[in-house]
């Protein structure tokens, strides 16, 4: 909840904050020879094999450049990595973005469990579901507890009604 609240604030003021940020640029992390298995010719399978060998399995996209290099974008929460495999020279280049707090918060906020390919991603997805359910449960249990307190009932109901009317007004006027 803390991460969602903080990231909501930064995302809501993204235009302003972005003007004070440097663009994320990739920096060299590792360069090494790499010889893939003969079976891994299809880009998707090759990408999975490379990520597995680098112990970096997780959310990614893969594309083949015109010069036949395979480029894997690995979307981590702390860093984004660009892994380029030169099939001809059999060289693997790993680059990553430097840590930026605002980008990190936004990634945490946007990350879901949809399309999970690792158990950790599945766990993240389950926690996202748990947060969603918890929010509804907090409201329901909070409302039940509120009804037990006579002294705040009128003011609480008035605030709930006011908030609901404003919310409905937004939907109506949009």
């Amino acid at each position: 909840m803390l991460a969602y609240a903080l990231s909501t604030l930064t995302m809501n003021h993204r235009e302003f904050l972005a003007s004070h940020l440097k663009a994320e640029s990739f920096q060299l992390e590792m360069k090494r020879p790499y010889k893939p298995d003969a079976h891994d010719q299809e880009p998707g399978a090759l990408a999975l094999r490379i990520l597995d060998d680098l112990n970096m399995k997780g959310e990614h996209q893969v594309r083949v450049r015109r010069d036949n290099r395979v480029v894997i974008m690995r979307y981590g929460l702390v860093f984004h990595r660009r892994i380029t495999f030169d099939r001809q020279d059999q060289i693997l280049l790993v680059e990553k973005t430097p840590f930026q707090l605002l980008a990190f918060l936004e990634r945490v906020h946007r990350r879901t469990g949809s399309g999970a390919i690792s158990p950790w991603e599945t766990l993240w997805g389950l926690i996202v579901d748990a947060v969603a359910v918890a929010i509804v449960v907090w409201f329901a249990t909070g409302f039940w507890m509120f009804l037990q307190i006579k002294s705040t009932r009128i003011a609480g109901l008035l605030l709930l009604l006011t908030g609901s009317l404003i919310f409905a007004g937004f939907l109506w006027l949009s």
Partner: protein
Amino acid sequence: MQLQTIIRRTHLYLAMFLAPWFVMYGLTSIAFNHPALFTDNSSEPVWIFRARESYSFPINENSELREVAAAILKDKNIEGSFHVQRPDRNTLIVTRFDFFHRTRLTFKIDQKTLLIEDRKVQLQNILTGMHGRGGFQQDVWLHDLWAVFVDLVAVAILVWIATGIFLWLQISSIRKWGGIVLVAGFLTFLVLVITL
């Protein structure tokens, strides 16, 4: 009024006032985590043709896209919140949106035509659109006011956490277990952040 009473009241009244947003954010996040549940897989086109007409508007390489898009929307009498993009030098795409509807205007600058399409109403788009709405980049007062409420909800969550921890610490019988669960939550978050 005692400090504890003030904290209790703040915790409660903020929740009562912002409950619709809080519940909306909780429910709509399911649509992001399970998009397949809400996606209509029919073969019907997503964008439905409304009109195609001759249209011209002076645009050059240095034109400010949002200003051009706002002028086109005003010209068509459909002003409001919008996104704009220029995928190539001869195409300008303006998407006018509200909570329930989306209208896309594709202006072919060289051909001087304007294609107007409406997006098929889909639950997935309504839910994710409502959840993702925010920011102060639109020159629409209602949009800005919504963004103020987005800020308010975010600050309220921080206040709930702080006041909730304060209230929890007053109850000695659940202090230990609450502490264990809190630490476990932070550790799980940390492990996932490093691993993902």
